[in-house]
């Protein structure tokens, strides 16, 4: 058994060393901070709270949480304000962000938005279904006027990079993207524009869109 223990320990140590090569993204400063949330600056907030789900550099591991790296700052600000006033009540907003955002100051919101928006944006991992991606491209760029579905480019830009305070969607987790679209459609996530755009959209069209977005 002692030999087995040694072997296991070596495996653990080897995996740890290997991990250093792939986890160099943990760059944000971690600081000893008072637990008074209103006293934290943006870097401290990211280190102590945001990074636990969204990653230090805004690239989340789990698709439960959106990628924030390179996100449009105005969008992050508006969503954080919505969370703070409980104006967004989709399940994840309630479970996670109502609590996290409840004591944020305007200054902190701006600082966090600045932090994540200046992290290097990630791009999609590509599509394994080019035909579906092409169908999504058509829908993304042109919408379906006869069914009153507007083109996505109007708000999200030609490459999903976001416009003004409308969010960047390029590079986003596929599962997260689909979930949000479905929740806009059902009204679970309140947003009049997105509800209008998605209410006539089929599951197949959402699948086509996410296929196209994954190429961006």
């Amino acid at each position: 058994m002692r030999r087995l223990a040694v072997v296991t320990s070596l495996i653990v140590a080897a995996l740890a060393l290997a991990s250093t090569a792939v986890r160099d993204d943990a760059q944000a400063a971690a600081v000893v901070v008072p637990p008074d949330p209103s006293a934290l600056d943006a870097a401290q907030l990211v280190s102590n709270a945001c990074s636990k789900c969204h990653g230090f550099n805004g690239v989340s591991t789990s698709p439960l949480f959106p990628i924030l790296a390179g996100q449009v700052p105005g969008y992050i600000e508006s969503e954080l304000r919505l969370f703070r006033q409980r104006g967004r009540s989709d399940p994840h907003a309630r479970a996670f962000m109502w609590g996290i955002a409840r004591a944020l100051t305007d200054e902190q919101i701006k600082g966090v938005a600045r932090y994540f928006s200046t992290q290097p944006a990630v791009t999609g991992k590509g599509s394994s279904n080019p035909a579906l991606a092409d169908k999504g491209k058509l829908l993304y760029e042109n919408g379906t006027p006869e069914r009153d579905i507007e083109a996505c480019t109007v708000c999200h830009g030609h490459n999903g990079e976001g416009v003004n305070s409308q969010p960047r969607i390029a590079g986003q987790h596929r599962d997260y993207f689909v979930l949000e679209m479905v929740q806009f459609r059902s009204g679970l996530r309140e947003n009049k524009v997105m509800q209008h755009v998605t209410e006539k959209m089929t599951d197949d069209e959402i699948a086509a869109l996410v296929e196209y977005i994954s190429t961006k």
Binding site: A5, P34, P35, A103
Partner: protein, 446 residues
């Protein structure tokens, strides 16, 4: 008093952070990746402004108090129906009732949360219905700090249950079952020795000690601890071990405990492997008038290898976790062969659990436990085997995340010798299946 169930979900932490249960738990008590980091960081994350705070000339906090203390309540009730009416230990040959209803089975008061910017704690006081006692349950205090680049986190802490400081549910001190082993043994039933389990699994609440740990790049955990008997003095009052059929005893000096684990997260997935161990010296109270110094000393060396895989998806959550533990028990020559037939015994335990939940409302759990070991007639009676095997099948319904209804069936395939309470009714061939138990349970915290 023995430490009972794990802390489960902790409402004070939810009040402190504003986060719902699912942030830290897939389904309580199993921790998510975020929950593990919250615990390793000493429970200090808060989004609640302090009511009282002060700093010194260097802007370092001198006091921080929340407007509300972090309090919570945990409540468990259970109905057990045994496959066969158990023997009444007070009246030889007679049987007791085959059902019991415990309301509550367990009732805990929990005080937990950030104490300062780098110190957090958890204190659980529990009323235990079968024993009728109210006492200190799992307790810990942590101090945590980081390096500047956050790659290294380190902490020092005190607790009273070896292994409960862990963050993976695959270790023995952090089980996955809410109503584990609802058999005659845990329900205060009659007769029978306790089921043989590795020595270090029975020390909760009876020991205390410091731990130092590091957490490297959100992946590697290394921790070392040393545990001491909680009370010094009489060998009979210090450590009422249920691991020895012969009764109580006490830990001798300090018992080192160590832990290494590695976690990797990707997508909705999280996987970990780990190893933990403890070396204990123990003086059993087998001889009347026995003194501690000089005393008879047994040596236990436990080594456990565990793994955990989690899929924490949007609708589907499942996990597969378990451990294999090997124990080497070396007995004092002065106690062999009067109390132990062999000078060295081995014990091997497998404990494997699989769970599935849909939308955090509906779930199922399967738990398999198998223990084998060296036959020791003096210790275990009969043919001496300490072996047993059982499975737990469970269905769960959570109308709310903090309210859980459980229907469980415990199936016993093997229970040997004096570990089987029914040996009092049938000394030559007690049937393992007599111990099969149907359980209906209610668990909630608020």
């Amino acid at each position: 008093m023995l430490v009972s169930t794990p802390a489960q979900a902790v409402p004070p932490f939810a009040r402190q952070t504003g986060l719902a249960c699912e942030a830290c738990h897939t389904i309580p008590p199993e921790l998510t990746s975020f929950g593990r980091r919250f615990k390793l960081n000493g429970y200090t994350l808060t989004t609640r402004p302090p009511l009282v705070s002060d700093t010194d000339d260097h802007k370092k906090n001198t006091v921080w108090l929340s407007d509300l203390p972090g309090l919570g309540i945990l409540f468990q009730a259970t109905y057990n129906h045994y496959n066969r009416a158990p023997p009444d230990s007070a009246v030889p040959g007679a049987t007791a009732q085959s059902e019991n209803l415990e309301f509550p089975q367990q009732f805990s008061l929990i005080a937990a949360g950030a104490i300062s910017d780098q110190v957090g704690g958890f204190l659980q006081m529990t009323y235990d219905q079968p024993s009728g006692t109210f006492g200190v349950d799992n307790t810990e205090i942590r101090y945590v700090n980081h390096t500047e680049n956050s790659d290294w986190l380190w902490g020092v802490m005190f607790n009273n249950n070896p292994g409960n400081q862990d963050v993976w549910n695959s270790v023995a001190a952090y089980p996955t079952l809410d109503f584990s082993n609802q058999s005659l043994w845990s329900a205060g039933g009659a007769g029978g020795a306790a089921l043989s389990s590795p020595f270090f699994e029975g020390l909760g609440g009876l020991t205390a000690g410091p731990t130092a740990y590091i957490w490297y790049k959100d992946s590697l955990y290394l921790g070392v601890s040393a545990y001491h008997a909680a009370v010094s003095g009489s060998v009979t009052s210090t450590l009422d071990s249920t691991n020895l059929s012969a009764g109580g005893g006490t830990l001798e000096g300090w018992a080192p405990y160590w832990r290494a684990a590695y976690e990797h997260d990707w997508g909705y997935n999280s996987a970990s492997i780990g190893v933990s161990g403890m070396a204990s010296k123990f003086t059993p109270s087998l001889i009347a008038g026995q003194t501690l110094d000089p005393g008879y000393v047994n040596h236990y060396r436990d080594m456990s290898y565990d793994w955990q895989y989690q899929y924490n998806g949007q609708h589907n959550i499942f996990s597969f976790l378990g451990r294999y533990t090997h124990e080497n028990a070396e007995y004092d020559p002065g106690l062999v062969p009067a109390f132990y037939s062999n000078s060295i015994n081995h014990l091997d335990e497998w404990n494997v659990t699989g769970t599935y939940y849909y939308n955090r409302h509906y779930g199922a759990l399967v738990n398999f436990v198998r223990t084998t070991g060296t036959a020791d007639v003096a210790l275990n009676g009969g043919n001496g085997s300490p072996g047993y095997q059982y499975e737990v099948l469970e269905l769960d319904y959570l109308p709310w995340l903090n309210v859980r209804l459980i229907m469980q069936y415990n199936i016993y395939n093997v229970v040997k010798n004096n570990q089987n309470p029914f040996f009092l009714l049938n000394a030559t061939n007690p049937r393992a299946s007599n111990n099969n138990t149907f359980v209906f349970g209610l668990w909630m915290d608020f």
